[in-house]
Amino acid sequence: MKRFITPKGVVGFALIVVIAAVGIAAPLVIPADMATRMTMSLRLKPPGFEHLLGTDQLGRDLLYRVMLGAHTSLLIAGAAVAMSVAFGLPLGIVSGYMGGWTDTALMRLVDTLLSFPALLLALTISAMLGPNIPNTILAIGIAFTPFLARIIRGEALRVAQMPYVEAARAAGANHFWMIVRHVLPNVFPLVIVQATISLAFAILAEAGLSFLGLGTQPPQSSWGLMIQASRDYLDVAPWTALVPGAAVALSVLGLNMFGDVLRDVLDPRSR
């Protein structure tokens, strides 16, 4: 426990907690019309007393928009990572534990999928299915699966070769029981570490997809969409880009910092 309490771990964890709290609370506490009401007389106001972070090109308050963006971003990133773990975990464990032909065939497929840049795969799936929130989750979830499967497979292989697992296998324990009782608990710390780091990448991916118009669609708030919309007003209102940019940066930074510390503590390979 002590090893978690490093400056990096504490700052990272604090950032995650604050952003998660904002993301969960935002849609509940922000009046629906506050974030969507367009007031042309208030267009592109710089940060000040009335609008702490300024307003966007349609006169909407940026603080509210960025808070609602946290909700969208966390929802999509969280669901996408959960999905890639749900696919990648069984794939990786079966491959690493069974070995032999199963392993060769599955890893050949995974390696081929890894040749596709994750962002390209996600963009293609989203464009083919039609961009909206569920399809964005699906697209990022599928695109991230091969990474997780590859890493979990390595760990499952290591665990499967441990003497006590081999002994249990020799004693005739059945495969399902072995996986649940021995492999899964040993692989679990690594899954936590990878999920944390993947969450950071998923937030970046969601922002990228939305920035390109193939993710979250307006009038929904999304950090990527906000950065996209700011492009035409960079000269007069740079804060419209910097506010959502800082939101992405802080959440990804928090996850990366916490992820680094988690890895130092939990990942068997870095011990």
């Binding site: 464009a127 083919m128 922002a207 880009a241 930074l253």
Partner: protein, 313 residues
């Protein structure tokens, strides 16, 4: 000899798998190419006629074979948006993107290696904190955000570099580099951060080894020990990661080229995706994935050249 043969066989198998995955992603998902070409309001007879002439009614296996067979004989099909032969289009666009990929890789490696080494040498001191913090920020910001910041600083405020467009290096090389520089920097910053972290951690490992102590004990200068002895042993993993990041670069060019209106492979793929130009999507995705796979192979072979220990086995 058997090694080379096996390797070739494995390349062909992988290329086949890439083509199957690409085809699956673009065909099994819903969406009607004929309707995309003619629009949703078009009359049913015209739609049926177009579907027939494009062969969309054939079984998927037949359609796949037509696509693959075409590519094997050098016919990559026609783009629906650009109205040109896909092969000529992609060759031209790949050259444009190659410039960006090479420049950003060069920027990333030439900054990351010294920074990472510095970090490892001064481990846990202020120098390490500074460089690790830079690296952490680097990987935490999306490349398109870097792109916007770079446009604000170098194009708008300082007016040093153009913020959009592509110039063919064959026609005007200095101008081509000027146009490619900001997009490459936007892509390279994230990559640099990744590589700095890898260099730091492998260098830290190497610097703790016995042979480094021996080198110091026999009176070699610190500079020789770090740059000649330690780095030679740490560069392998850095290269591997750099190779793996090629995939990240090819994903990144889609966003960055669109932001900078740099008409390369990424920009073209994005236009294809926006307009659901299925033949072009299929072929670009296939070409990009194959390029990533082949470049990784080249990196593997480079390892062979750089590390004498592998050559010996």
């Amino acid at each position: 000899m058997t090694y080379i043969f096996n390797r070739l066989l494995s390349i062909i198998l992988t290329l086949f798998l890439i083509s199957v995955i690409t085809f699956a992603v673009t065909n099994i998902l819903p969406g009607d190419v004929a309707m995309m070409i003619l629009g949703t309001q078009s009359n049913p007879t015209a739609l049926a006629g177009l579907r027939h002439s494009l062969g969309l009614e054939d079984p998927l296996v037949v359609q796949y074979w037509r696509w693959m067979g075409g590519m094997l004989t050098g016919d990559f099909g026609h783009s629906l948006v650009f109205k040109v032969q896909i092969a000529t289009l992609l060759v031209q666009k790949l050259k444009a993107s190659a410039l960006i990929v090479v420049v950003s890789m060069t920027i990333a490696i030439s900054c990351a290696v010294p920074l990472g080494v510095w970090s490892a040498v001064y481990r846990n001191r202020w120098q390490d904190t500074v460089s690790s913090t830079i690296a952490l920020f680097g990987i935490s910001l999306p490349d398109f955000f870097w792109g916007i910041v770079l446009i604000l600083i170098f194009a708008r405020a300082l007016g040093w570099l153009p913020s959009s467009g592509f110039v063919d290096p064959a026609q005007n090389f200095p101008s081509a580099i000027e146009h490619a520089f900001l997009p490459s920097l936007a892509l390279g910053l994230g990559l640099m951060a990744q590589l700095t972290r890898v260099t730091r951690s492998t260098m830290t490992g190497v610097l703790n080894q016995e042979f480094i102590r021996v080198a110091r004990a026999k009176g070699l200068g610190e500079r020789v020990v770090v740059w000649r002895y330690a780095l030679a042993n740490a560069i392998g993993p850095v290269m591997t990661v750099a190779g793996l990041q090629i995939g990240y670069l090819f994903g990144g060019i889609i966003v960055v080229e669109s932001l900078f209106n740099y008409t390369g492979m990424g920009w073209t793929t994005y236009q294809a995706l926006l307009n659901r130009d299925v033949p072009l999507i299929q072929t670009s995705v296939f070409v990009i994935a194959s390029a990533v796979m082949l470049i990784n192979l080249v990196v593997d072979l480079l390892y062979f050249v750089v590390d004498p220990r592998i050559r010996a086995t």
